[in-house]
Amino acid sequence: MAAYKKRKPYVKAIIFGIVSVFSYIYLFKNVGLVMEGFTRGGAYAALPVITAFYFSFVHAAFCSNVLEIMGLEAKRKKSVPVKG
């Protein structure tokens, strides 16, 4: 089984990394405007929640690929969980 070596996701990591970094830069560059809109309350509550979702997808995908490149992956064969 070890003869097969998976290709590391360099391209994916770079793409998600760039999108993630640009998103962070964009948000922090416009922080005044963002904070004004995001803290209005009421229906504006959707803004921070959607933003958190967006970053969790983009940044988590970047993190996941970086961990894979670093060789940090889940154990391939997991024994059946025991009760306790």
Binding site: M35, F38, T39, G41, P48, V49, A52, L72, A74, G84
Partner: protein
């Protein structure tokens, strides 16, 4: 049958949300308002306040403790109002909502996020108990710290839950049942809190929260730790607890099948565990400390499945809480995203770490963290007793106790980080050695 469950869950969800909307939910306390001071008049000690979402400005009288010169004008602030007996409202406290972020604060948030995420991915909860006080020690107002933390909790938990679902550790149905019964539990917890606040005031409420916190953490954490140490020594087999086995014999319908957890239980057993989790979450803000042990010792799931399933509960409750706090406009998205930057790494690392360790390692981490956090909260009890006039604590002593409380939290996080990393590295090296060994054997066999 699946349709019945879906309908039941939808009803529970709708009930919880409508109730939350009516009761004000798990959001900020009453008397707290967010807005901007447009001008201050030091002569008659008043200030003009424009509240969020309102078009009219109001003139507010400043309380004795608030100095007119110290009020920031044209900056977003959070104010606490005190109602006098004649019904007149005075400003009790003003705090600038959003602190300036310097490099050291940014680095601190990234690091705390990373280790908090690692813990969360590994034991299903955690991070919040150290993130909120850490943010407050950076100068963030308490309510903003809780709100920003909550908004980082649900995406982190979602990513952790997704990863552990892929590893086959999440019991989705158990998670949904736990989450929605926990939301109902939160409502009960809030009601109890309100009764205590009305009868014994803020100091009484703090004391109650601390005592519940310490009692639950010492008893449950002590038991989890004891159980884990017994298993680590190899003294006994990993078995389902006697309590869970006895409860599995309860056959009162409706019965629920939890496939991944491998148990069939009466709803009359499952729902109270969720309710208790919610009640505790409303009281001490860390529901996972009862949810995970509850799923292990009462429901009968393994520590691996319980900690993974807790992430589903954390996602749903965190999402619901974030909407509540967002409606009040208290989320500082900058801090949320900075913690997320670290924690999205940490949570995935913690999640994959669980595939390399034995079941009891999760229990060791959980028990150790709970016991150290209990010390942190216990150190604050004399301060609250002093506030109630039941004990005499001078300011020097209070400072020492507060320091002990804060550093114990840091110690809890550091201990967890060290145990998890150590166990993971050991597990990975062992796994690679096994793979190499298997390869050598197969090469030798086939020439």
């Amino acid at each position: 049958m699946k349709k019945v469950y879906a309908v039941l869950l939808a009803i529970l969800l709708l009930l919880s949300f409508s109730q939350a909307a009516l009761a004000g939910g798990g959001g900020p306390p009453e008397g707290v308002k967010v807005g901007v001071f447009t001008s201050v008049n030091p002569d008659d000690n008043t200030a003009v306040f424009m509240q969020n979402g309102k078009s009219d400005a109001t003139v507010l009288k400043l309380g004795e403790t608030v100095k007119a010169g110290a009020i920031p004008v044209d900056q977003k602030v959070m104010i606490s109002l005190d109602k006098a007996e004649n019904g007149e409202e005075t400003v009790k406290d003003v705090s600038r909502m959003f602190i300036g972020l310097k490099l050291e604060k940014i680095l601190a948030l990234l690091l705390i996020g990373l280790i908090g995420g690692l813990l969360s991915g590994f034991i299903g909860s955690g991070g919040a108990f150290v993130l909120t006080p850490s943010m407050m020690s950076l100068g963030v107002p308490g309510a903003v710290a809780v709100a920003s933390n909550m908004c980082h909790k649900f995406p982190k938990a979602m990513v952790g839950a997704y990863k552990r679902f892929k590893y086959g550790q999440v019991d989705l149905k158990l998670g949904l049942v736990m989450a929605f019964s926990a939301i109902a539990g939160v409502q009960i917890g809030i009601k109890i809190q309100k009764i205590i606040l009305n009868n014994w005031g803020n100091a009484g409420s703090n004391l109650y929260v601390s005592l519940v916190f310490v009692a639950v953490l010492v008893i449950v954490g002590g038991y989890v730790f004891h159980d884990a140490r017994k298993l680590a020594k190899g003294g006994s087999e990993v078995t389902t607890s006697k309590l869970a086995l006895a409860l599995q014999k309860v056959q009162i319908p409706p019965m629920m099948n939890f496939k991944t957890a491998g148990v069939r239980l009466s709803a009359w057993v499952t729902l109270p565990v969720g309710l208790a989790t919610g009640m505790l979450a409303a009281t001490i803000a860390v529901g996972g400390f009862i949810g995970v042990p509850g799923m292990i010792y009462v429901v009968g799931a393994s520590a691996l499945v319980a900690s993974a399933t807790e992430l589903v509960v954390a996602f749903i409750m965190g999402f619901w809480g974030s909407v509540q706090w967002g409606i009040s406009g208290l989320i500082d998205i900058r801090m949320t995203l900075l913690i997320l930057a670290g924690s999205l790494f940490g949570v995935q690392l913690g999640a994959l770490g669980t595939t390399y360790v034995k079941d009891y390692v999760i229990k060791i981490v959980m028990g150790a963290v709970m016991l150290i956090v209990a010390v942190s909260r216990g150190a604050k009890v004399p301060v609250y007793l002093s506030d109630l006039g039941l004990m005499n604590v001078n300011s020097g002593m209070e400072h020492v106790l507060n320091s002990i409380s804060f550093w114990a939290l840091v110690a809890a996080l550091a201990t967890a980080g060290i145990i998890i990393t150590g166990a993971m590295v050991k597990g990975m090296m062992q796994s690679r050695a096994e793979e190499r060994h298997a390869l050598q054997e197969s090469v030798a066999k086939h020439g």
